[in-house]
Amino acid sequence: MQDLQRALSAGSSCTRMKRVPLALLLTVAAIAWLPSLHLFHVPDHEAIASRLAAGQIARPVPPAGTMRAVNPEWDFMRRTYVVLALANRALAHPTEHARSLAAIDAIVDSTLTLARDNGDEHFMLAYAKRGPFADPDAQSLFIDGEIVMMIAARDLVEPRAETRDEARVRARRIERAMRASPSLSGESYPDECWTFCNTTALAGLVLLDRASGSHDHAQLAKDWVAHAKTNLVEPRTGLLVSSYTWNGQVLDGPEGSSLWMSAHNLLVVDEDFARDQYERARRELGASFLGFGWAREWPAGTPQRADVDSGPIVPLLDASAGSSGLAILGASAFGDRRFRNELLASLELTGFREKTTGRHRASNDVGDAVVLYALSFGPLWDHARRPPDHAALVDVRGLR
């Protein structure tokens, strides 16, 4: 720097001045450019959400053959995130209300038909058939929980009689399975319980209660949280573990791809516990540099191994595609605008967004559905936490 100042301040003696070293020039240029790089990666969030939503409304059930060949779960989870996103948009944008509901109904109907015709395994990884569930009467909580969540979200926007019984049957099944388990958790796969799925199921039940004006599942939610605080939290980080056996033996410790979604789910179940989990996850998994943000899949000190949930992990930074994508949802849900904008700046830098459709070339349909939901998040969860409107409830319960 002194060389450069000397060079710049050299007056008539400049004829004797040496050239500024290249390394110094590059350093000064890097210092000027790199801190401002993120300013060139600030997308118009509402424009992206509108384009992604328009695509989903135009084709609510797109062909998913390629994605299913890699992971059938993605096909199912895309449906859940799109339904949640469109439910939010239906509440926030009256002009999109009818089209959003039509798309939601198409997705829910198609999902129920596929699950009925092909079994839950249609949306599950092949190891769903590796053996019987520890609870012989149980079905996958992954499927039941997200279907209840989808139907309940739709009902909170506007009640739909056609799917009411389906939701009730699955809700009863969830409650029975969770109550029957020593870990107070339902299995997603044989002898494999996931925090992601159990908190999704609980949030789905809370939404269903809210839509029907009951408190049928409030005690289950309270009991699960109490059990989780004692048995499902890793002592070192205080974070919820991601998977465990039916008996409660931990299989995998805290994982970003589970935690951000779980914390978001817990917002409608137990807000204090949810905020505690988000803040811990932010501290243990979140990272930012020069206006860009990312999230690790595993806390520091844990070997950073990539799997189907984490997606690829960037060496040195330990940035996980799966965890970073779901961290956008976490940051949106907890009003962490700074981290959300940093994560979106990273997505803009590395996602290769198509200007016309809003889809990210470096992602897939489930990734774009998560982004759409994260950018639309708010009205549905607010609605779920508001005291019920009794006039509407009379209608939902079919008493009118």
Partner: protein
Amino acid sequence: MKRPAVLFGFAALLFATHAAAGLAGWAEHTSAIAGMPTSPASFVLGPAFVLLHLVVVVLAPVLTIAAMLDALLVLRRQIERGQDERGRRGRERERVDAGRRCA
């Protein structure tokens, strides 16, 4: 002005390579990162495009700024060298004029 031209040239080459890769559709291959390759080549072209993009976004502007700074410094040096030259000639002329007056 050789070094600024080299820096500008290198930055331009990076931009041109990135543009060519974009036109060749390499960006579509980045779906391989999400486990959705469009062809077997995606496993090479996708990560290659991401790397190229990061290099262009991070390095090319740095090279361009460095080149501009360098060019400005060279220009300033040339202007001041010209001023020095004019001053030296002026002083020489004054010395010659003074000598003539003395003679």
